[in-house]
Amino acid sequence: MDLTDSDITDPTDFPASLPSLVALDAALRCAVCKDFFKGPVLLTCGHTFCSFCIREALSEHKECPSCRKPVSDQSLHRNTTLEEVVLAFLRARPEILTAVKPPELKRKRARSDSSAVAGPSVHRQDEDVEEASDDEVVEYSPSEGERQRSISPRKSKESTPGSAAPTSFVSCPICIEYMPMIELNEHLDRNCAAPRKKFKADEGKLAWQSLLNGKGKAKEKPRLKNGTKKRSPSPPPTRMVKHNYHIMSEKDIRALLTDASLSTDGSKKAMVARHSHFVTLFNANLDTMRPKSRKELIKELEAWEAGKEMDDRQKKKRKEKVEDTKQYEAANQDQFKSMINSIKSRPKPSSSALTTTSAKFALTATDETKGFFDSSPAPSPPKNLKRDGENEVIVLCDSSDVEAL
C-alpha cells in the first residue's frame, strides 16, 4: 500500500524559483489523485488519468472528468510510454531535488560526504517506493531495457547520496555524518561505523515485507514461487466485469462475491459496493507495469470499506434530530438552567438590550443551537468577566440572528 511509503510528494517540493521544474512535476501527475500517474490510461478525448482514478470516476459519471466528453470504461487504452516516463522521472526526481537544493544544505551534505561513508541508507526512501511494489508481484516481466534502467540508476545513486527529503535528515551528534532520522539509532549502535551494505539491503526488504504483509519470514517461499512465475509467460488475466447489480438478487450477488473470494457480509447494498469497488481495483491493477497481488488488493478493499463505514456513521450522527422537543428540553433542563443562570449572573454589558437578547436566546435554545453550547467553554470565571462577557454576548447575538433568519 502506498501509505507505507508515507512520504507524500507534491510539485512544491521544487523551489518556486524554478517554475519549469514545478510544472514538469505537476504535468506528470494525475488530475484526479494529484499523485504521479499509476497505470495511466488514455481516453478517447485525449486526456490521461490513472487507471484506478478514471474507473472510479466513471462509476459516478460516464464522462471525462476534465472535458465532460462521454467515455466508457471499455474504451480505455494503456499509456505505457507515459508510465515509463513517470517511472524515469521518479528515479531522477530525488537527484534533481538534491541538485537544486539551497546552498547551505548542500554544503552540509558535502562535508558529511567527504568525512565519512556515503551510507546506502540515505537513498532508502525512494528505493522503498519501488521495493514496495516490487514484492509479491503476480506477473511482471520487465523488458530488457527496463531491467537495465532499473538497475543502473540505483548504482549511480551510491555516489550521490542524500536524495531523500531534506526534512527527515539529521546529523549524528558524534561524527556529524548526515543521515535520515530513522537510521540514526542504528548508526550510533554501530559506533558510527559504515553500515554493512548487503545486510542492510536485505533488512530493508524484509522490513518492507513485514510492513506490507504483516509478516516477514513467511513471505520467503511464495516470493520464490512468484519469481519462477515471472519467467514463464502466463496468459494475461481477463478483466472482471461490473454486473447490472440492481436486477440481481441478493443470492446472485453473494455468489459473485464468493467467486471472487470476497466477504459476503453486510446488506445487499454493501455487497454491491464491495464487488464493484473490487472490480475497479482489479481492472486498474491490470493496467500497471507492476501489478499488486490479489491479497494486497483485498487489503485495499478492506481499508476502503472501513473508511466508508466511518463516513456513514458520521453522516448518521450529523443527521440526528431531536424529534420531541419538549422531552429534550426536560431531559436537558439542568444544562439549560445553568446556562441561563450563568448569563444572568454576569454584570450587565454596555447596553441592556443585549442582555435581554442573550437571555431570551438561552431560553429558546433548541436542538439546532445545542452544538454551539456543547462546544462553548464552561461559564467564564469571575476574574476576566468583563472581557469574556463581552465576547460571549457578541457570539450569542450572532447565533440568535442565525436562528431568527
Partner: protein, 175 residues
C-alpha cells in the same frame, strides 16, 4: 489557526511525522489522503486573493474551514464568510459537502448555510479541487443563479441593490 499549519505542512512533507495522517489513513482511502494533503500544499503555495482553507484540526484531514471574501465590485465586497468543508471518504470521486458557517444572505444559500451550486451536485467532476470550488463560490456571490433560488427573498431583492445590501448587512457578522 497558525500553529496547525506548520505541523501539517511538515506532515505532508516528511515521512516520519505523517503518523497522524495514518490514524485516519488506516481507514480512509489512500487516494483521498494523498490528494487532500496535496491540495493543502497547493492552496497554501498559490496565493489567490480572498480565498483560504485549511483543516480544522491536526488529526483530521477530512474537515476543513475556509474563508471567502466577496469580490471587488459586488455587493459582497469587503465582506468575508466562513465555510465548512467536509470531504467524504470517496473524495474526489464524490463532491465534498460545503456549508456557510457565517450567515450569508444570498439567493443560492439557504437559512442554514446550505449552498445550491451545480458543481457541488450533479456537475461535480473529480478534477475539481478545494481551490476551484472556493473560486466558483466567490464568483457565485457576485453572480447568483436567480432561476433556482434557495432563498426566494434574496432572489427577489437582488435587482434592488440598496435594499439588498441593507438586508445583507443586517444578517452579516464579521468572522
Amino acid at each position: 489557526m497558525a500553529p496547525i499549519l506548520p505541523s501539517l505542512l511538515a506532515a505532508s512533507r516528511n515521512g516520519k511525522s505523517s503518523d497522524h495522517l495514518r490514524i485516519r489513513g488506516a481507514t480512509g482511502s489512500i487516494t483521498c489522503i494523498c490528494r487532500l494533503s496535496n491540495e493543502l500544499m497547493t492552496l497554501m503555495m498559490s496565493n489567490s486573493p480572498g480565498i483560504s482553507a485549511f483543516p480544522k484540526s491536526d488529526s483530521n484531514l477530512f474537515d476543513w474551514v475556509g474563508t471567502i471574501e466577496g469580490a471587488p465590485g459586488t455587493v459582497y465586497e469587503n465582506l468575508s464568510f466562513k465555510i465548512s468543508i467536509h470531504f467524504p471518504s470517496d473524495y474526489p470521486y464524490v463532491a465534498p459537502v460545503l456549508r456557510f458557517e457565517s450567515p450569508c444572505f444570498h439567493p443560492n444559500v439557504d437559512l442554514h448555510g446550505n449552498i445550491c451550486l451545480d458543481i457541488l451536485k450533479d456537475k461535480w467532476s473529480a478534477v475539481y479541487s478545494v481551490h476551484t470550488i472556493l473560486l466558483s463560490l466567490q464568483s457565485l456571490l457576485g453572480e447568483p443563479n436567480n432561476d433556482s433560488p434557495l432563498n426566494a427573498d434574496a432572489a427577489e431583492l437582488w435587482g434592488n441593490e440598496q435594499e439588498f445590501k441593507a438586508r445583507l448587512m443586517s444578517y452579516y457578522r464579521p468572522i
